[in-house]
Symmetry: C2
Subunit: 199 residues, 2 copies
């Protein structure tokens, strides 16, 4: 499990950090994530990244001494993909948040990064901790929205049914979900849980 | 996309085939699937498999000239994981089928094999065709059950919400779904779609 303060590592260095250092980090990690989602886990090496991002291998090794450091920080950038800002309308907010998830898949390779995480996080360890941190953060808004009407197992399962439908469609059917799929999933979930309250 | 008759490849050779050949195929493919789910995609090589399964490399090359042939046939064994035989009680049948999916994850590494497929099937090609064939077959029973009350987008989305919740729980939360999760997901889906009929 990720330590409670580990999200600090996914944010840029503190404001006092030299802007050139910050820029280098951003450039290299952006390139690393691109290589990861396009070419897969094994392609993210210091040498390949140096050639691709235009920095020396020495610079990259200085910031990230091992491939694990590099892969971890590259993946944690996904925590910065924007969520939907809640408006107070539950249905609209769930649809908005699922669209943000979909846009992350379409525009940032989030689905492919998640596939890599699923494949690599086979046991406990550094990469499983990265996966746990990204999933917990990724589902935070959906869970908060659904917590206005669900709790316990229903809250956990409702979250997994929504996010899971998007993830499964992208990774197993090769179909990034469209608006029709998103709205249909939200409506089934809301009807399924409204009826639960009434019963 | 898989050709329409491609499921024939996932079944054992025709009854006329020498039982020793059939046994060799089963042994080698079983070992290959075990290596794939335990150690990952790159570990499935003719050499590693020969050492592991106790057959000569020459024998393995004779049956599967390339790694792609080997990986394809190893993965297609997953099509043989048993489904729940429908009884006519929709709720019980959906719960039974999700339990069969869960048992496949727990007992046959189905979740890890699906993670490998998601990661490797990045574009069209042989492995994407294997994924499509396994997913279509894997979801067939759920889809048939839900088709008694849903159609069109709702049928597709309902299937993805159920299977997706199981898949997402296993791969992203590292939690093979328990019976409580399965029953809760089925009940949310059934309530969500009963209300749709009534409305």
């Amino acid at each position: 499990m990720a330590p409670s303060d580990s999200t600090a590592d996914s944010t840029p260095p503190a404001p006092g950090v030299d802007p050139r250092v910050r820029r280098t980090r951003q450039d290299v990690l952006g390139a690393a994530l691109g290589i990861l989602t396009d070419q897969g886990w094994d392609a993210v090496t210091h040498a390949h990244l140096a050639a691709h991002a235009g920095y020396s291998r020495a610079t990259i090794y200085k910031h990230w001494p091992t491939r694990t450091h590099l892969l971890r920080d590259a993946l944690l950038q996904l925590a910065d993909i924007p969520h939907h800002p809640p408006t107070g309308d539950l249905r609209a907010d769930l649809i908005g948040e699922m669209r943000a998830f979909r846009d992350g898949m379409r525009d940032h390779g989030l689905d492919r990064a998640m596939a890599v995480l699923a494949e690599q996080a086979r046991g406990p360890g550094e990469i499983a901790a990265v996966r746990d941190e990204l999933v917990t953060g990724g589902d935070r808004v959906v869970r908060q929205l659904l917590a206005t009407r669900l709790s316990g197992t229903e809250l956990a399962v409702g979250t997994k049914m929504l996010s899971g439908a998007m993830f499964y469609s992208a990774l197993m059917y090769g179909q990034i979900p469209d608006d029709d799929v998103i709205v249909t999933a939200v409506d089934i979930l809301l009807r399924g849980t409204v009826a639960a309250e009434a019963g």
